[in-house]
């Protein structure tokens, strides 16, 4: 029997969150997300969790799974021998069960001017960008904004104003883009209060990123750039 122990909370009736355990038979290869869907459809329709692509690209289903932040859709139940413990992302208010309020996360994202500010009028066709220049943004552009890094970052726990790994990596994604013209302003912003120098280099974001990106490295690079120009 597979066992799912899930942190539950309904603001309308619960004083505080509590664990509820569900047991069912899971076929080989079942993912944690599929397990949640099975529970929702067959055992308990009051259970709330987010999901969409079930292919590890949309970022909806990041949660705390047996001690690590990950996407539930890319985690196999077998990995933990059928004993799964789920909690919502940390550092964000719980709305219902595994659904947290993502607004604070996206508010941080919006602060870093998360859009290209071109350094010149666009040409008639595409900007010419060399393969080498394009490679420079490669480590940063795959971020799916799932907030696993945000949940894992202990600095967020003590300092909710800290921009956080995803937003900072987004800033670097534009600083490193040959088409962008606002590198200086971006750097000045990420180097200000609540920016890169709040990072204690704990490596949690690197450890948990389900796209195997390295926000810790991004932040280190931003620190270097902010310091040495």
């Amino acid at each position: 029997m597979t066992e799912f122990k899930i942190l539950r909370y309904d603001q309308d009736k619960d004083q505080e969150p509590y664990f509820q355990t569900y047991t069912f038979d899971s076929p080989k290869g079942m993912t944690v997300l599929e397990g949640l869907i099975y529970i929702f459809e067959n055992i308990d329709p009051t259970l709330s969790f987010r999901s969409m692509c079930r292919a590890a690209v949309c970022g909806s289903c990041a949660m705390h799974i047996n001690g690590l932040y990950n996407l539930s859709c890319r985690t196999q139940i077998d990995k933990y021998d059928g004993k799964i413990e789920l909690r919502p992302l940390a550092h964000l208010p719980i709305i219902k069960d595994l659904v947290v309020d993502l607004e604070p996360f996206f508010e941080q994202y919006k602060k870093v001017m998360p859009y290209l500010i071109p350094k010149e009028e666009p040409p008639k066709k595409e900007y010419i960008q060399s393969e080498k220049e394009r490679k420079k943004v490669d480590p940063w552009v795959d971020c799916i904004l799932c907030a696993a890094c945000y949940g894992s970052c202990p600095v967020e726990a003590t300092d909710p104003k800290y921009l956080g790994p995803a937003a900072l990596m987004k800033a670097l994604r534009f600083i490193d883009d040959s088409r962008d013209g606002k590198g200086k302003e971006r750097l000045a912003f990420v180097a200000s209060d609540f920016g890169v120098f709040r990072c204690h280099t704990i490596f949690n974001c690197q450890k948990v990123c389900p796209k195997t990106l390295d926000p810790t490295l991004a932040i280190a690079k931003l620190k270097m750039k902010a310091f040495f120009g």
Binding site: C53, V57, L102, Y115, D142
Partner: protein, 565 residues
């Protein structure tokens, strides 16, 4: 009461592109999405987006006209030709636009946007960003909506259109967080709710790609067009049906059966694995049905000969997926694949401006049918569709609302809200103990069997009867969760109702179309019948089931010919 000039429903590529276009027209525009915009299914698109840029050395003489012809031929001549040519002519401009906004396309050695070969195309004209093109485009458009400071109602699920006599005056939405139904006024509404492929069990689509988005306008009297044309993508991962991009074959991947044979030599000797999707999917299915598949379920997509460097550079996302989901490294082993239900060519009936028969109501992207994909869409043309017609709908709606009074039509909106509140309380009072999800899962199981790659009179008659029975059973089901916030049980009940009614349109439309064209292949009518069926199906809602009418496809430049690849 909430009011905006324009409300856009859906935060995928078409919706975001429409929002940007409307904002550029200085309209007060807001996006209403059941997800967060970056979660939308558009982000799952992998292989790329078509435009005749002629950046690839093998495409030096490519032109939008040739792209237009490939699109029309690919559609099995059902696409409206002027509209298809319009789309391919607009293609370079919309690609340059999104590149100027920062979309990280891969590059040629000259620093231009890189292009790869795709199925059914005469030239390598599919612009790509690695194998994550949809993700890059979605992030880029979302970034632009942040730049334009466009209001987004995230996790607000639209449940009905609101009409004031004969125009659309807004909508009713369920705010998932508060659990409240809200009336939202607008002078124009643009639906960009995506496709319905999740009515099939073997779908490549994400969980929210249900038919609810097209069901709402259908229930409100707007016809659905060509719904029987459902695209089966040749290569989805076995057994989860996660998409394995056509780019795999564009980069040189091959299809191999149980006997080690590269079987496309039999079906498309010239184009081979890069035939159009309908033909390649049918070929794979034939191999499986005739006993040359593995475990009677799949064949191999072999990438090994591409080598590690190319796979890591051009198809890293595919490798991530196979490693994550079946623990297989395509550098070392061939990938088990089978066709998966991927895309709806049909949708809400619109003209080239995205307008429908209901003034003030527009649609764009996969939920709409302009029609540029006809009976079979070419890979790389759906992302293009979202950009060209998303932009068009946003512009047109922007013009439409210009002189309209900037206030909600309160009476009509309150009526619509009251009606939905009544529906909701009615829904929860329903008797019986049927589990709605069981009904939905039965639907999803029957659709690939009865209206799949191979169809026929008996299969579809059975299928239709089964859907009718499921509709009856849903009347004995009800959402049981009574909580206020993020009550997905309530939401799914509505989705399932939409799924059943739209599946009925697919099935009945397929029964009525007694020919084979594009993705719609009937064993009992295995050839195309231009004399009787070179026309679009229109389905109009009635409580007894869809009423069908037809309108001719526009044939202006290219006369229908046999499709050989």
């Amino acid at each position: 009461m909430i009011f905006h000039d324009i409300l856009i429903v859906g935060g995928g590529l078409a919706g975001l592109r429409a929002a940007i276009a409307a904002a550029e027209k200085k309209a007060d525009v807001a996006i209403v999405t059941r997800l967060y915009p970056v979660r939308s299914h558009s982000g799952q698109a992998q292989g790329g987006v078509n435009a005749a840029l002629a950046n690839n050395p093998n495409a030096a003489d490519d032109t939008p006209e040739k792209h237009g012809f490939d699109t029309v031929k690919g559609s099995d001549f059902l696409a409206d030709q002027e509209t298809s040519i319009f789309m391919t002519q607009e293609a370079p401009e919309v690609i340059f636009e999104i590149e100027h906004w920062g979309c990280p396309f891969s590059r040629t050695p000259e620093g231009k946007i890189a292009q790869r070969p795709f199925g059914g195309a005469g030239y390598p004209r599919t612009c790509y960003g690695s194998d994550k093109t949809g993700h890059y485009m979605l992030q880029t458009l979302y970034e632009q909506t942040v730049k334009h400071n466009i209001k987004v109602y995230s996790e607000w699920v639209v449940v009905a259109l609101a009409r004031d006599v004969d125009t659309c005056c807004g909508l009713v939405a369920l705010d998932m967080k508060s659990g409240q139904l809200q009336a939202m006024g607008a002078n124009a509404v643009i639906f960009a709710t995506g496709g319905s492929a999740r009515i099939y069990g073997n779908s490549t689509n994400g969980i929210t790609s249900t038919a609810f988005g097209v069901a709402m306008p259908y229930w409100a009297g707007v016809p659905l067009k060509d719904m029987e044309f459902i695209q089966f993508h040749p290569t989805s991962l076995f057994p989860s049906n996660i998409l394995m991009t056509e780019g795999c074959r564009g980069e040189g991947g091959t299809l191999i059966n149980k006997d080690g044979e590269r079987f496309m030599t039999k079906y498309a000797p010239k184009a081979m694995e890069l035939g159009p999707r309908d033909i390649v999917a049918r070929s794979i299915m034939t191999e499986i049905l005739e006993g040359r598949g593995f475990e009677d379920s799949y064949v191999y997509l072999d990438l090994r000969h591409l080598g590690k460097a190319k796979i890591m550079e051009r198809l890293p996302g595919i490798r991530e997926i196979t490693l994550d989901f079946i623990g297989l490294d395509p550098i070392e082993k061939p990938i088990p694949i089978q066709p998966g239900t991927h895309y709806c060519m049909g949708g809400i009936d619109t003209d080239v401006n995205g307008a429908t028969i209901l003034p003030g109501f527009y649609a764009a992207g996969e939920c709409s049918c302009v029609s540029v994909h006809g009976a079979n869409r070419l890979g790389g043309n759906s992302l293009l569709d979202t950009l060209v017609f998303g932009k068009m709908a946003g512009k047109m709606a922007g013009d439409y609302v210009k002189d309209k009074p900037k206030q909600p039509r309160t009476n009509a909106l309150e009526r619509a809200l009251k009606k939905e509140e009544d529906n909701f309380s009615q829904m929860q009072k329903g008797g019986g103990n049927e589990n709605p999800h069981k009904i939905n899962n039965e639907l999803r199981k029957l659709m690939p069997e009865k209206a799949g790659i191979y169809r026929g009179e008996k299969l579809m008659t059975d299928g239709l009867a089964q859907i009718k029975a499921l509709q009856e059973r849903l009347k004995k089901a009800r959402p049981v969760a009574s909580g206020r916030s993020f009550n997905f049980d309530k939401l799914w009940f509505l989705e399932i109702k939409g799924n059943l009614d739209v599946a009925e349109v697919v099935m009945a439309g397929g029964l009525a179309r007694k020919e084979s064209r594009g993705s719609h292949f009937r064993r009992d009518f295995p050839t195309r019948d231009d004399a009787n069926f070179l026309k679009h199906t229109l389905a109009t809602y009635s409580p007894e089931g869809p009423k069908f009418s037809y309108k001719p496809a526009s044939i202006t430049k290219y006369q229908p010919e046999e499709r050989k690849y």
